[in-house]
């Protein structure tokens, strides 16, 4: 145990932020009882890039996201964020360090307005304590005002959701809810943004809007993006780097074009073997 501790800390002190990697997943395995959701997954996310994780359903993408954001503790391996091993750090503390995520099935707070949902994103960076809050004086008033101004001027304007700011999120369309979730994640002042299927279930127009926002987040806000997505068009157009998972393992990673052309990726998505041979086999079997 002692030895392991030492080697771990030695590893995290090692200098090699070579390509300015902001997040590194290092030989991460995750198992639930006998099911191995992830085995020996390693990749890194470079600062200022858009990295996509793709893979068929059940490949372990969301498990990977949950391990990165702190819901699951990897059974083996490390997750390093900004050069620091975050295995022992809880989800709220990871949020304070600048890790923000959105969820596949929208996780907004239905009882609050759009504005309050977005404000909630800043929670970890505000300092108001109970006494300030009860009297809404001094720090509470100042913080709330500054936060409101910033959210209005930077986030709500940017994501074009000013017309719904005072509506309850329960009444919004799916596409708008996804956009509010992105707004809330941006309010967290993230260094890295984890997007779990940002355009799932969206129509063409909403997908295009979201793609534009993701690019702007990277280029104007300078936030690194790591996303899981099934829409290959979006992944190929936006990503700087693509990681493909299947059965909990990394099949390949690299530039979007290379990954797309990789035979293992094609067989993971479409199944292996040629169709003619399969058809013949099927007929013979009959």
């Amino acid at each position: 145990m002692q030895m392991r501790q030492v080697s771990q800390s030695a590893r995290s002190i090692e200098p090699p932020l070579l390509n300015q990697e902001i997040l590194a997943v290092d030989r991460v395995s995750l198992s639930f009882g006998g099911v191995k959701a992830l085995s020996n997954v390693s990749f890194s996310v470079k600062e200022g890039s858009i990295t996509s994780v793709i893979g068929p359903n059940g490949a372990g993408k969301t498990s990977l996201f949950n391990s990165i954001s702190g819901f699951y503790k990897p059974s083996e391996g490390d997750v390093r964020f900004l050069g620091e091993n975050v295995n022992k750090i809880t989800a709220p503390e990871r949020a304070e360090r600048g890790m923000a995520r959105t969820f596949q099935n929208i996780a907004l707070f239905k009882g609050m307005t759009v504005l309050d949902n977005i404000k909630l994103g800043r929670h970890a960076h505000l300092k108001t304590n109970v006494l300030d809050a009860l009297f809404y004086f001094g720090r509470a008033r100042r913080e709330e005002c500054e936060l409101r101004r910033e959210i209005e001027e930077r986030i709500i304007d940017f994501l074009e959701i000013d017309h719904i700011r005072n509506q309850s999120v329960a009444n919004l369309s799916y596409g708008l809810q996804k956009r509010v979730e992105l707004a809330r994640a941006l309010a967290m002042q993230p260094k890295i943004l984890l997007l779990d299927e940002p355009v799932a279930g969206m129509n063409r127009e909403e997908t295009e809007d979201m793609a534009r926002f993701i690019l702007d987040v990277k280029e104007e806000w300078g936030v690194t993006v790591l996303m899981v997505e099934h829409d290959m068009g979006l992944v190929m157009d936006l990503s700087d780097h693509v990681v493909c998972l299947n059965f909990g393992k990394v099949i390949t990673e690299g530039l979007p074009g290379d990954v797309q052309a990789h035979p293992d990726v094609i067989s993971a998505y479409l199944g292996s073997g040629d169709v003619a041979a399969l058809r013949k086999k099927f007929k013979e079997g009959k």
Binding site: P92, A95, E96, F109, K119, A124, V130, A133, Y136, M188
Partner: protein
Amino acid sequence: MRIGTAKENYLHDAALFDTNVQRAWMVALAAALLVLPFISGQYIGYLVCLVLINIVSTTGLNILTGFTGLVSLGQAAFMGVGAYTVAILEINAGTPFLLNLLIAGGAASLVGVVVGLPSLRVKGLYLAIATIAASVILHFVFANWTSVTGGVSGLTMPPASIFGFELVQPNQVYWIIMPITVVMLFGAANLFRTRIGRAFIAIRDRDISAEVLGIRLLRYKLLSFAISSFYAGVAGGLWAYFFRVITPESFPLMMSIFFLAAIIVGGMGSILGGILGAVFMTMVPEILKMMVGVLSPIWPDAVAVMSPVRIIVFGGLIIFFLIFEPDGLAEIWRNIRRFFHLWPFRT
């Protein structure tokens, strides 16, 4: 119709009362509260004080159950902690009432935090059962720690005094109860304009994604218990100054259910809902009682026959409101307001 409400800065937009009409009504209400004890009789004064005490405690429970989503049936027991603390301090130390009330709130919130500890693991009905257990234990302590609580016979305490002037009658104690109620209501309303209140609502709606946003669940759940039972403790302290006799039977489990019913009828997760619920639950039985009293000259048997009917009508009204408007009286109020915002046009 509502017009001329354009805001010029964010501070105005975040104000609790954001229109002149609202402010005018609040001034009228404040004036009424100031004049009331001079024009009301003993009975009305008594009822008003009782309503105000119940409002404080109901608002506390609303913070915990309505806003944070943690069901508690310990509110009456926390009130008991506050009441006993005030009585003990008043009898033994004779410290000023404001200090006593603060200490009562503090003591109750300490107990509340301990009772709230299971809330990280258990939710919903299970937590309700855990808090019932806590209130049974507290009842046992009140009844058996004779050297401190006076056992089953309880404690009798001297009245509160300001500058040597003793507040005995309801219309006098009112001057303690009313300002404290107002301050605590504003406190609760302010809480939900800041990050702390938002964190509570986030925990209620989706605790897992709250965690990813950087909200530490245990800390905020316990904070909610602490604030809620602080309100209960102060309400209990006010109750003690009002009745001045405290026994273990003063704060039965039934009273906790009363507060829970009040927030459900009034509207969970709304400060106004807590107020309306407390007023409804306290006043409706009294009004029904008065109606029976009015009937009695015409119908001599009215009291005997109508008393059980009264309780049935009360229960029926609660069920009626739950079915007719599940979001509580506060939602009915909001609908009325919405109607007048557009009046004479219709939606």
